[in-house]
Protein backbone atom coordinates (compact mmCIF):
# COMPACT_ATOMS: atom_id res chain seq x y z
CA UNK A 1 0.00 0.00 0.00
CA UNK A 2 2.78 2.39 0.77
CA UNK A 3 5.84 3.68 -0.98
CA UNK A 4 7.95 1.48 1.26
CA UNK A 5 6.28 -1.75 0.20
CA UNK A 6 5.74 -0.96 -3.43
CA UNK A 7 8.43 -3.27 -4.72
CA UNK A 8 6.62 -6.24 -3.25
CA UNK A 9 3.57 -5.55 -5.39
CA UNK A 10 5.33 -6.65 -8.56
CA UNK A 11 4.60 -3.53 -10.60
CA UNK A 12 5.17 -5.27 -13.91
CA UNK A 13 6.76 -3.40 -16.80
CA UNK A 14 7.98 0.13 -16.10
CA UNK A 15 5.75 3.02 -17.11
CA UNK A 16 6.24 4.54 -20.53
CA UNK A 17 6.25 8.06 -19.10
CA UNK A 18 6.99 9.78 -22.40
CA UNK A 19 3.93 8.20 -23.95
CA UNK A 20 1.80 9.01 -20.89
CA UNK A 21 2.88 12.65 -21.11
CA UNK A 22 1.38 12.90 -24.57
CA UNK A 23 -2.01 12.24 -22.93
CA UNK A 24 -1.72 15.45 -20.87
CA UNK A 25 -1.84 18.47 -23.18
CA UNK A 26 -1.27 21.01 -20.40
CA UNK A 27 2.21 19.68 -19.70
CA UNK A 28 3.47 20.81 -23.08
CA UNK A 29 3.88 24.53 -22.53
CA UNK A 30 6.49 26.98 -21.41
CA UNK A 31 6.32 29.08 -18.26
CA UNK A 32 8.64 32.08 -18.23
CA UNK A 33 10.34 30.62 -21.29
CA UNK A 34 11.04 27.20 -19.76
CA UNK A 35 9.15 23.93 -20.16
CA UNK A 36 6.60 23.55 -17.38
CA UNK A 37 7.48 21.21 -14.54
CA UNK A 38 4.25 20.56 -12.67
CA UNK A 39 5.00 19.49 -9.10
CA UNK A 40 1.77 20.64 -7.47
CA UNK A 41 -0.16 17.42 -7.93
CA UNK A 42 -1.22 17.16 -4.29
CA UNK A 43 -3.16 20.41 -4.78
CA UNK A 44 -4.75 19.25 -8.00
CA UNK A 45 -3.66 16.85 -10.70
CA UNK A 46 -3.67 17.55 -14.44
CA UNK A 47 -6.27 16.00 -16.72
CA UNK A 48 -5.66 13.48 -19.48
CA UNK A 49 -7.24 13.97 -22.91
CA UNK A 50 -9.58 11.09 -22.10
CA UNK A 51 -11.17 13.21 -19.35
CA UNK A 52 -11.16 16.47 -21.30
CA UNK A 53 -12.78 14.78 -24.30
CA UNK A 54 -15.36 13.05 -22.13
CA UNK A 55 -16.48 16.39 -20.70
CA UNK A 56 -16.50 17.91 -24.17
CA UNK A 57 -18.55 15.05 -25.58
CA UNK A 58 -21.08 15.24 -22.74
CA UNK A 59 -21.73 18.93 -23.32
CA UNK A 60 -21.68 18.63 -27.11
CA UNK A 61 -23.71 15.47 -27.49
CA UNK A 62 -25.90 14.51 -24.54
CA UNK A 63 -26.12 17.28 -21.95
CA UNK A 64 -29.44 16.81 -20.14
CA UNK A 65 -30.73 16.55 -16.60
CA UNK A 66 -30.75 13.08 -15.12
CA UNK A 67 -33.31 10.76 -13.51
CA UNK A 68 -36.34 12.70 -14.71
CA UNK A 69 -36.58 13.05 -18.47
CA UNK A 70 -38.07 10.36 -20.65
CA UNK A 71 -36.28 11.83 -23.63
CA UNK A 72 -33.25 10.22 -25.19
CA UNK A 73 -30.64 12.72 -24.03
CA UNK A 74 -31.77 12.47 -20.42
CA UNK A 75 -31.59 8.72 -20.63
CA UNK A 76 -28.07 8.84 -22.05
CA UNK A 77 -26.95 11.32 -19.39
CA UNK A 78 -28.51 9.22 -16.61
CA UNK A 79 -26.88 6.06 -17.91
CA UNK A 80 -23.47 7.72 -18.10
CA UNK A 81 -23.86 9.26 -14.62
CA UNK A 82 -24.86 5.95 -13.05
CA UNK A 83 -22.16 4.20 -15.07
CA UNK A 84 -19.63 6.47 -13.38
CA UNK A 85 -21.02 5.44 -10.00
CA UNK A 86 -20.38 1.84 -10.95
CA UNK A 87 -16.80 2.65 -11.90
CA UNK A 88 -16.25 4.29 -8.51
CA UNK A 89 -17.71 1.25 -6.79
CA UNK A 90 -15.26 -1.02 -8.60
CA UNK A 91 -12.37 1.41 -8.02
CA UNK A 92 -12.73 1.30 -4.22
CA UNK A 93 -14.25 -2.19 -4.00
CA UNK A 94 -17.49 -1.12 -2.33
CA UNK A 95 -20.21 -3.76 -1.93
CA UNK A 96 -22.89 -1.78 -3.71
CA UNK A 97 -23.48 1.31 -5.80
CA UNK A 98 -25.86 2.45 -3.08
CA UNK A 99 -22.80 3.12 -0.98
CA UNK A 100 -21.35 5.65 -3.44
CA UNK A 101 -22.54 9.21 -2.86
CA UNK A 102 -21.39 11.88 -5.29
CA UNK A 103 -20.38 15.08 -3.49
CA UNK A 104 -18.46 18.22 -4.40
CA UNK A 105 -15.27 16.74 -2.99
CA UNK A 106 -13.58 15.37 0.10
CA UNK A 107 -14.53 18.44 2.12
CA UNK A 108 -18.23 18.06 1.41
CA UNK A 109 -18.03 14.32 2.06
CA UNK A 110 -16.62 14.93 5.53
CA UNK A 111 -19.15 17.65 6.25
CA UNK A 112 -21.90 15.26 5.19
CA UNK A 113 -20.79 12.68 7.73
CA UNK A 114 -20.43 15.36 10.41
CA UNK A 115 -23.84 16.90 9.86
CA UNK A 116 -25.80 13.75 9.07
CA UNK A 117 -24.33 10.72 10.80
CA UNK A 118 -22.48 12.39 13.66
CA UNK A 119 -25.05 15.05 14.43
CA UNK A 120 -27.83 12.51 14.71
CA UNK A 121 -25.85 9.78 16.50
CA UNK A 122 -23.54 11.62 18.89
CA UNK A 123 -24.32 13.58 22.02
CA UNK A 124 -22.57 16.03 24.32
CA UNK A 125 -19.43 14.52 25.83
CA UNK A 126 -18.93 11.97 23.05
CA UNK A 127 -15.42 12.09 21.59
CA UNK A 128 -14.18 12.40 18.03
CA UNK A 129 -10.55 11.41 17.53
CA UNK A 130 -8.41 12.83 14.73
CA UNK A 131 -4.64 13.08 14.27
CA UNK A 132 -2.31 16.08 14.39
CA UNK A 133 -1.59 15.78 10.66
CA UNK A 134 -5.12 16.41 9.43
CA UNK A 135 -6.01 18.86 6.68
CA UNK A 136 -8.26 21.70 7.84
CA UNK A 137 -11.14 19.91 6.09
CA UNK A 138 -10.84 17.09 8.63
CA UNK A 139 -10.61 19.46 11.60
CA UNK A 140 -13.07 22.28 11.08
CA UNK A 141 -16.23 20.20 10.35
CA UNK A 142 -15.71 18.50 13.73
CA UNK A 143 -15.14 21.80 15.51
CA UNK A 144 -18.40 23.07 14.05
CA UNK A 145 -20.15 19.93 15.26
CA UNK A 146 -18.61 20.28 18.73
CA UNK A 147 -20.03 23.79 18.95
CA UNK A 148 -23.42 22.54 17.82
CA UNK A 149 -23.88 19.50 20.06
CA UNK A 150 -21.09 19.56 22.62
CA UNK A 151 -18.96 16.68 21.35
CA UNK A 152 -15.26 16.77 22.22
CA UNK A 153 -12.43 16.76 19.68
CA UNK A 154 -9.33 14.75 20.62
CA UNK A 155 -6.07 14.87 18.67
CA UNK A 156 -3.53 12.03 18.44
CA UNK A 157 -0.03 13.54 18.33
CA UNK A 158 2.67 12.92 15.71
CA UNK A 159 6.40 12.42 16.11
CA UNK A 160 9.22 14.37 14.49
CA UNK A 161 9.20 12.15 11.39
CA UNK A 162 5.58 13.08 10.90
CA UNK A 163 4.09 9.73 11.91
CA UNK A 164 1.13 9.21 14.21
CA UNK A 165 2.36 7.99 17.60
CA UNK A 166 0.27 4.83 17.67
CA UNK A 167 0.59 4.26 21.42
CA UNK A 168 -0.86 7.74 21.98
CA UNK A 169 -3.56 7.12 19.39
CA UNK A 170 -4.55 3.91 21.13
CA UNK A 171 -4.38 5.54 24.55
CA UNK A 172 -6.86 8.19 23.38
CA UNK A 173 -9.36 5.56 22.27
CA UNK A 174 -11.87 5.03 25.03
CA UNK A 175 -15.50 4.30 25.82
CA UNK A 176 -16.44 7.86 24.86
CA UNK A 177 -14.78 7.65 21.43
CA UNK A 178 -17.58 7.42 18.90
CA UNK A 179 -15.81 8.43 15.73
CA UNK A 180 -12.24 8.27 14.48
CA UNK A 181 -11.55 10.45 11.44
CA UNK A 182 -8.08 10.03 9.99
CA UNK A 183 -6.16 10.93 6.89
CA UNK A 184 -4.93 8.02 4.75
CA UNK A 185 -1.97 9.92 3.23
CA UNK A 186 -0.88 13.32 4.56
CA UNK A 187 -0.94 16.15 2.01
CA UNK A 188 1.97 17.93 3.72
CA UNK A 189 4.17 15.15 5.04
CA UNK A 190 3.44 12.37 2.58
CA UNK A 191 3.02 9.99 5.51
CA UNK A 192 1.05 6.85 4.69
CA UNK A 193 -0.85 6.08 7.86
CA UNK A 194 -1.32 2.47 9.01
CA UNK A 195 -5.05 2.91 8.54
CA UNK A 196 -5.90 -0.81 8.67
CA UNK A 197 -4.45 -1.11 12.14
CA UNK A 198 -6.00 2.19 13.25
CA UNK A 199 -9.42 1.11 11.98
CA UNK A 200 -9.13 -2.20 13.81
CA UNK A 201 -8.24 -0.52 17.09
CA UNK A 202 -11.07 2.01 16.71
CA UNK A 203 -13.55 -0.78 16.03
CA UNK A 204 -12.29 -2.62 19.12
CA UNK A 205 -13.62 0.36 21.06
CA UNK A 206 -16.87 0.46 19.11
CA UNK A 207 -16.02 3.68 17.28
CA UNK A 208 -16.87 4.35 13.64
CA UNK A 209 -14.06 5.30 11.27
CA UNK A 210 -13.96 7.85 8.48
CA UNK A 211 -10.87 7.85 6.25
CA UNK A 212 -9.89 11.01 4.36
CA UNK A 213 -8.50 9.56 1.14
CA UNK A 214 -7.99 12.79 -0.81
CA UNK A 215 -4.27 12.11 -1.32
CA UNK A 216 -4.53 8.33 -1.31
CA UNK A 217 -6.90 7.83 -4.22
CA UNK A 218 -4.40 8.93 -6.91
CA UNK A 219 -1.50 6.92 -5.49
CA UNK A 220 -2.59 3.67 -3.93
CA UNK A 221 -5.23 0.99 -4.58
CA UNK A 222 -8.20 1.53 -2.29
CA UNK A 223 -10.21 -1.35 -0.94
CA UNK A 224 -12.85 -0.06 1.46
CA UNK A 225 -14.01 -3.54 2.38
CA UNK A 226 -10.47 -4.73 2.88
CA UNK A 227 -9.79 -1.76 5.13
CA UNK A 228 -13.08 -2.23 6.93
CA UNK A 229 -13.66 1.52 7.22
CA UNK A 230 -17.17 2.86 7.74
CA UNK A 231 -16.76 5.95 5.57
CA UNK A 232 -14.17 6.87 2.94
CA UNK A 233 -13.91 10.28 1.27
CA UNK A 234 -11.98 11.44 -1.80
CA UNK A 235 -11.97 14.08 -4.52
CA UNK A 236 -12.10 13.68 -8.29
CA UNK A 237 -9.71 16.46 -9.19
CA UNK A 238 -6.72 14.96 -7.40
CA UNK A 239 -7.41 11.74 -9.28
CA UNK A 240 -6.99 13.40 -12.72
CA UNK A 241 -10.73 14.11 -12.92
CA UNK A 242 -12.68 17.39 -12.88
CA UNK A 243 -12.93 19.75 -9.91
CA UNK A 244 -16.25 19.98 -8.08
CA UNK A 245 -16.88 16.23 -7.94
CA UNK A 246 -15.98 13.86 -5.14
CA UNK A 247 -17.16 10.75 -3.41
CA UNK A 248 -18.36 9.67 -0.04
CA UNK A 249 -18.39 5.94 0.50
CA UNK A 250 -20.45 4.80 3.46
CA UNK A 251 -21.51 1.36 4.61
CA UNK A 252 -25.05 0.81 3.40
CA UNK A 253 -26.63 0.15 6.78
CA UNK A 254 -25.15 3.38 8.14
CA UNK A 255 -26.24 5.46 5.16
CA UNK A 256 -29.68 3.86 5.29
CA UNK A 257 -30.20 5.03 8.86
CA UNK A 258 -28.80 8.52 8.35
CA UNK A 259 -30.99 11.58 7.83
CA UNK A 260 -30.53 13.51 4.58
CA UNK A 261 -27.75 16.11 4.46
CA UNK A 262 -29.53 18.59 2.21
CA UNK A 263 -33.12 18.79 1.07
CA UNK A 264 -34.25 19.43 -2.47
CA UNK A 265 -35.08 17.79 -5.75
CA UNK A 266 -33.95 14.27 -6.65
CA UNK A 267 -33.56 13.25 -2.99
CA UNK A 268 -37.29 12.67 -2.54
CA UNK A 269 -39.90 10.10 -3.60
CA UNK A 270 -42.94 12.18 -2.84
CA UNK A 271 -43.49 15.64 -1.44
CA UNK A 272 -46.63 17.09 0.10
CA UNK A 273 -46.78 20.02 2.49
CA UNK A 274 -47.55 17.58 5.30
CA UNK A 275 -44.90 14.97 4.68
CA UNK A 276 -42.02 14.15 2.42
CA UNK A 277 -40.86 10.67 1.57
CA UNK A 278 -37.11 10.53 1.02
CA UNK A 279 -35.56 8.74 -1.90
CA UNK A 280 -33.56 5.51 -1.67
CA UNK A 281 -29.80 5.34 -1.48
CA UNK A 282 -27.72 6.87 -2.87
CA UNK A 283 -30.12 9.55 -4.12
CA UNK A 284 -31.20 10.50 -0.61
CA UNK A 285 -27.88 12.30 -0.30
CA UNK A 286 -27.80 13.90 -3.73
CA UNK A 287 -30.21 16.81 -3.50
CA UNK A 288 -30.51 19.04 -6.55
CA UNK A 289 -28.99 18.62 -9.98
CA UNK A 290 -25.56 17.12 -9.36
CA UNK A 291 -22.33 17.79 -11.23
CA UNK A 292 -23.31 15.39 -14.00
CA UNK A 293 -20.38 16.17 -16.29
CA UNK A 294 -18.04 15.97 -13.31
CA UNK A 295 -19.21 12.50 -12.32
CA UNK A 296 -18.93 11.23 -15.89
CA UNK A 297 -15.49 12.86 -16.13
CA UNK A 298 -14.44 11.16 -12.89
CA UNK A 299 -15.52 7.84 -14.40
CA UNK A 300 -13.25 8.57 -17.37
CA UNK A 301 -10.38 9.43 -15.03
CA UNK A 302 -10.82 6.14 -13.19
CA UNK A 303 -10.79 4.25 -16.50
CA UNK A 304 -7.61 6.11 -17.45
CA UNK A 305 -5.81 5.31 -14.19
CA UNK A 306 -6.90 1.68 -14.38
CA UNK A 307 -5.49 1.55 -17.91
CA UNK A 308 -2.10 2.76 -16.68
CA UNK A 309 -2.02 0.34 -13.71
CA UNK A 310 -1.77 1.58 -10.14
CA UNK A 311 1.08 -0.74 -9.08
CA UNK A 312 3.22 0.60 -11.96
CA UNK A 313 2.25 4.16 -10.96
CA UNK A 314 3.28 3.46 -7.38
CA UNK A 315 6.63 2.04 -8.41
CA UNK A 316 7.37 5.04 -10.62
CA UNK A 317 6.35 7.56 -7.95
CA UNK A 318 8.36 5.70 -5.34
CA UNK A 319 11.42 5.98 -7.55
CA UNK A 320 10.78 9.70 -8.12
CA UNK A 321 10.31 10.35 -4.41
CA UNK A 322 13.47 8.46 -3.47
CA UNK A 323 15.46 10.29 -6.13
CA UNK A 324 14.01 13.71 -5.23
CA UNK A 325 14.55 13.16 -1.50
CA UNK A 326 18.19 12.37 -2.11
CA UNK A 327 18.78 15.18 -4.61
CA UNK A 328 16.93 17.89 -2.65
CA UNK A 329 18.53 16.84 0.65
CA UNK A 330 21.93 17.27 -0.95
CA UNK A 331 21.25 20.99 -1.50
CA UNK A 332 22.95 22.98 1.23
CA UNK A 333 20.58 24.33 3.90
CA UNK A 334 17.58 22.14 3.06
CA UNK A 335 15.50 20.49 5.76
CA UNK A 336 12.92 17.91 4.71
CA UNK A 337 9.65 18.10 6.66
CA UNK A 338 8.07 14.65 6.89
CA UNK A 339 10.45 11.70 6.90
CA UNK A 340 8.09 8.86 7.66
CA UNK A 341 9.25 5.35 6.82
CA UNK A 342 6.04 4.94 4.81
CA UNK A 343 5.69 7.82 2.40
CA UNK A 344 3.87 8.71 -0.81
CA UNK A 345 5.06 11.18 -3.46
CA UNK A 346 5.07 14.37 -1.41
CA UNK A 347 8.26 16.25 -0.54
CA UNK A 348 7.90 19.20 1.83
CA UNK A 349 10.98 21.21 2.72
CA UNK A 350 12.32 24.47 4.05
CA UNK A 351 15.59 26.18 3.17
CA UNK A 352 17.84 28.16 5.52
CA UNK A 353 17.49 31.90 5.04
CA UNK A 354 14.95 31.71 2.23
CA UNK A 355 11.24 31.87 2.95
CA UNK A 356 9.16 29.24 1.09
CA UNK A 357 7.18 31.99 -0.58
CA UNK A 358 10.33 33.42 -2.15
CA UNK A 359 11.37 29.91 -3.17
CA UNK A 360 7.99 29.46 -4.85
CA UNK A 361 8.41 32.63 -6.91
CA UNK A 362 11.97 31.81 -7.91
CA UNK A 363 11.08 28.24 -8.89
CA UNK A 364 8.13 29.53 -10.90
CA UNK A 365 10.61 31.64 -12.83
CA UNK A 366 12.37 28.41 -13.73
CA UNK A 367 9.06 26.98 -14.92
CA UNK A 368 8.77 24.73 -11.83
CA UNK A 369 5.35 24.84 -10.13
CA UNK A 370 5.45 23.91 -6.44
CA UNK A 371 3.07 24.78 -3.64
CA UNK A 372 4.25 27.05 -0.85
CA UNK A 373 2.43 27.95 2.33
CA UNK A 374 0.76 26.06 5.15
CA UNK A 375 -1.07 23.62 2.85
CA UNK A 376 -4.31 23.96 4.83
CA UNK A 377 -2.62 22.24 7.74
CA UNK A 378 -1.59 25.01 10.11
CA UNK A 379 -1.28 22.65 13.11
CA UNK A 380 1.31 20.62 11.18
CA UNK A 381 3.32 23.79 10.54
CA UNK A 382 3.17 24.58 14.23
CA UNK A 383 4.38 21.09 15.16
CA UNK A 384 7.47 21.49 13.01
CA UNK A 385 8.01 25.11 14.07
CA UNK A 386 7.85 26.54 10.55
CA UNK A 387 5.45 29.18 9.20
CA UNK A 388 5.22 27.43 5.85
CA UNK A 389 6.98 24.90 3.63
CA UNK A 390 7.66 24.46 -0.05
CA UNK A 391 6.12 21.26 -1.34
CA UNK A 392 6.86 19.27 -4.47
CA UNK A 393 4.27 16.57 -5.08
CA UNK A 394 4.56 14.01 -7.84
CA UNK A 395 2.31 12.26 -10.30
CA UNK A 396 3.07 9.43 -12.71
CA UNK A 397 3.72 11.88 -15.57
CA UNK A 398 6.68 13.44 -13.73
CA UNK A 399 10.27 12.46 -14.52
CA UNK A 400 13.70 12.36 -12.95
CA UNK A 401 14.81 15.07 -15.38
CA UNK A 402 12.12 17.32 -13.88
CA UNK A 403 13.49 16.64 -10.40
CA UNK A 404 16.86 17.91 -11.70
CA UNK A 405 15.11 21.12 -12.77
CA UNK A 406 13.77 21.53 -9.23
CA UNK A 407 17.23 21.06 -7.77
CA UNK A 408 18.72 23.59 -10.20
CA UNK A 409 15.97 26.02 -9.21
CA UNK A 410 16.88 25.62 -5.54
CA UNK A 411 20.54 26.29 -6.34
CA UNK A 412 19.46 29.36 -8.27
CA UNK A 413 17.44 30.60 -5.30
CA UNK A 414 20.61 30.49 -3.26
CA UNK A 415 22.33 32.61 -5.89
CA UNK A 416 19.54 35.21 -5.79
CA UNK A 417 19.87 35.49 -2.02
CA UNK A 418 23.65 35.25 -1.81
Amino acid sequence: MSAGTVTALNPGPALDVERIRTDFPILHQEIHGRPLVYFDNAATAQKPLAVIETLDRYYREYNANIHRGVHTLSERASTAYEGARGKVRDFINAASEKEIIFTRGTTESINLVAQSWARSNLKAGDEILITAMEHHSNIVPWQLLCEQIGTVLKVAPINDRGEVILEEFERLLGPKTRLVSIVHISNVLGTVNPVSRMIERAHDHGAMVLVDGAQAAPHTPIDVRGLGCDFYAFSGHKLFGPTGIGVLYGREELLEAMPPYQGGGDMIKMVTFEKTLFNDLPYKFEAGTPHIAGAIGLGAAIDYVAGVSLPAIQAHEHDLLAHATEAVSAVDGIRIIGTSAEKAGVLSFVMDGIHPHDLGTILDHEGVAVRTGHHCAMPVMEHFGVPATARASFAFYNTRAEVERLVRGLENAKQVFS
Partner: protein, 148 residues
Protein backbone atom coordinates in the same frame (compact mmCIF):
# COMPACT_ATOMS: atom_id res chain seq x y z
CA UNK B 1 10.50 39.81 -16.30
CA UNK B 2 13.85 39.31 -14.69
CA UNK B 3 14.02 37.84 -11.21
CA UNK B 4 16.60 40.48 -10.34
CA UNK B 5 13.92 43.16 -10.82
CA UNK B 6 12.00 41.59 -7.98
CA UNK B 7 14.84 40.61 -5.71
CA UNK B 8 16.97 43.74 -6.06
CA UNK B 9 20.12 43.97 -4.02
CA UNK B 10 18.56 46.40 -1.57
CA UNK B 11 15.68 43.98 -0.90
CA UNK B 12 18.00 41.04 -0.34
CA UNK B 13 20.04 43.24 1.98
CA UNK B 14 17.07 44.49 4.02
CA UNK B 15 15.78 40.92 4.26
CA UNK B 16 19.07 39.66 5.59
CA UNK B 17 19.60 42.59 7.95
CA UNK B 18 16.27 44.26 8.62
CA UNK B 19 16.55 47.79 10.03
CA UNK B 20 14.61 48.92 13.10
CA UNK B 21 13.98 45.26 13.87
CA UNK B 22 12.96 43.90 17.27
CA UNK B 23 10.42 44.88 19.91
CA UNK B 24 10.07 48.37 21.38
CA UNK B 25 9.52 48.33 25.12
CA UNK B 26 7.96 51.78 25.48
CA UNK B 27 5.84 51.94 22.33
CA UNK B 28 2.77 54.20 22.34
CA UNK B 29 1.04 51.89 19.93
CA UNK B 30 1.65 48.40 18.61
CA UNK B 31 -0.34 46.25 16.27
CA UNK B 32 -0.04 42.81 14.70
CA UNK B 33 -0.37 42.11 10.99
CA UNK B 34 -0.91 38.65 9.54
CA UNK B 35 -0.98 37.22 6.04
CA UNK B 36 -2.80 33.89 6.34
CA UNK B 37 -1.87 32.87 2.79
CA UNK B 38 1.83 32.53 3.53
CA UNK B 39 2.03 32.84 7.29
CA UNK B 40 3.79 36.22 7.29
CA UNK B 41 3.41 37.77 10.71
CA UNK B 42 4.68 41.09 11.97
CA UNK B 43 4.19 43.43 14.90
CA UNK B 44 4.59 47.12 14.34
CA UNK B 45 5.65 49.47 17.18
CA UNK B 46 5.17 53.23 17.11
CA UNK B 47 6.25 56.06 19.33
CA UNK B 48 4.45 59.27 18.49
CA UNK B 49 5.29 62.86 19.26
CA UNK B 50 2.08 64.77 18.59
CA UNK B 51 1.34 64.01 14.97
CA UNK B 52 4.89 63.00 14.20
CA UNK B 53 6.35 59.47 14.16
CA UNK B 54 9.28 59.75 16.55
CA UNK B 55 10.27 56.10 16.40
CA UNK B 56 9.05 53.03 14.57
CA UNK B 57 10.18 49.39 14.77
CA UNK B 58 8.90 46.02 13.70
CA UNK B 59 9.26 42.39 14.69
CA UNK B 60 8.14 39.09 13.20
CA UNK B 61 8.86 36.72 10.34
CA UNK B 62 7.96 36.53 6.71
CA UNK B 63 9.19 36.26 3.16
CA UNK B 64 11.93 38.52 1.80
CA UNK B 65 9.44 40.88 0.23
CA UNK B 66 7.46 41.42 3.43
CA UNK B 67 10.52 41.75 5.68
CA UNK B 68 12.33 44.12 3.30
CA UNK B 69 9.19 46.15 2.77
CA UNK B 70 8.67 46.58 6.52
CA UNK B 71 12.33 47.43 7.02
CA UNK B 72 12.28 50.05 4.24
CA UNK B 73 9.00 51.43 5.55
CA UNK B 74 10.39 52.02 9.03
CA UNK B 75 13.39 53.82 7.54
CA UNK B 76 11.18 55.99 5.38
CA UNK B 77 8.74 56.95 8.12
CA UNK B 78 10.95 57.91 11.02
CA UNK B 79 10.37 61.59 11.69
CA UNK B 80 7.48 61.91 9.22
CA UNK B 81 4.11 63.42 10.18
CA UNK B 82 1.08 61.16 10.12
CA UNK B 83 -0.25 62.99 7.05
CA UNK B 84 3.08 62.47 5.28
CA UNK B 85 2.97 58.78 6.21
CA UNK B 86 -0.51 58.34 4.75
CA UNK B 87 0.51 60.20 1.59
CA UNK B 88 3.53 57.92 1.20
CA UNK B 89 1.30 54.85 1.65
CA UNK B 90 -0.83 56.11 -1.23
CA UNK B 91 2.23 56.61 -3.46
CA UNK B 92 3.50 53.17 -2.48
CA UNK B 93 0.16 51.59 -3.19
CA UNK B 94 0.16 53.10 -6.69
CA UNK B 95 3.67 51.78 -7.21
CA UNK B 96 2.37 48.23 -6.71
CA UNK B 97 -0.85 48.58 -8.65
CA UNK B 98 -0.62 47.58 -12.28
CA UNK B 99 -1.99 50.19 -14.65
CA UNK B 100 -1.09 53.16 -12.45
CA UNK B 101 1.44 55.62 -13.89
CA UNK B 102 4.93 55.26 -12.44
CA UNK B 103 5.08 57.19 -9.20
CA UNK B 104 7.54 59.98 -8.58
CA UNK B 105 10.84 58.33 -7.57
CA UNK B 106 11.80 61.40 -5.53
CA UNK B 107 8.80 60.92 -3.28
CA UNK B 108 9.36 57.20 -2.79
CA UNK B 109 13.10 57.11 -2.34
CA UNK B 110 14.37 53.61 -1.55
CA UNK B 111 10.80 52.27 -1.49
CA UNK B 112 10.90 52.38 -5.29
CA UNK B 113 13.05 49.23 -5.11
CA UNK B 114 9.83 47.30 -4.51
CA UNK B 115 8.41 48.32 -7.91
CA UNK B 116 9.12 44.84 -9.30
CA UNK B 117 6.42 43.37 -7.05
CA UNK B 118 3.72 44.84 -9.30
CA UNK B 119 4.47 42.11 -11.84
CA UNK B 120 3.73 39.42 -9.22
CA UNK B 121 0.09 39.89 -8.19
CA UNK B 122 0.24 37.09 -5.61
CA UNK B 123 3.10 38.87 -3.86
CA UNK B 124 1.60 42.37 -3.58
CA UNK B 125 0.06 41.48 -0.21
CA UNK B 126 3.51 40.60 1.09
CA UNK B 127 4.75 44.10 0.34
CA UNK B 128 1.69 45.93 1.66
CA UNK B 129 1.10 43.98 4.90
CA UNK B 130 3.27 46.37 6.95
CA UNK B 131 1.60 49.42 5.43
CA UNK B 132 -1.91 48.15 6.11
CA UNK B 133 -0.82 47.38 9.65
CA UNK B 134 0.58 50.91 9.99
CA UNK B 135 -2.60 52.42 8.64
CA UNK B 136 -4.73 50.51 11.16
CA UNK B 137 -2.36 51.33 14.01
CA UNK B 138 -2.61 55.05 13.18
CA UNK B 139 -6.39 54.74 13.05
CA UNK B 140 -6.22 53.38 16.58
CA UNK B 141 -7.35 49.85 15.74
CA UNK B 142 -6.47 47.17 18.24
CA UNK B 143 -7.60 44.13 16.29
CA UNK B 144 -4.80 42.38 14.38
CA UNK B 145 -4.70 43.15 10.68
CA UNK B 146 -5.22 40.31 8.22
CA UNK B 147 -4.63 40.56 4.49
CA UNK B 148 -7.41 38.10 3.72
Amino acid sequence: MDLKDLYQEIIVDHNRQPRNFGPMEDADRSLEGFNPLCGDRLTLYLKLDGDRIRDIRFDGSGCAISVASASLMTEALKGKTLAEAEALFEEFHDLLTAGQPDPDPDKLGKLAALAGVRDYPTRVKCATLCWHTLHSALEGDEKPVSTE
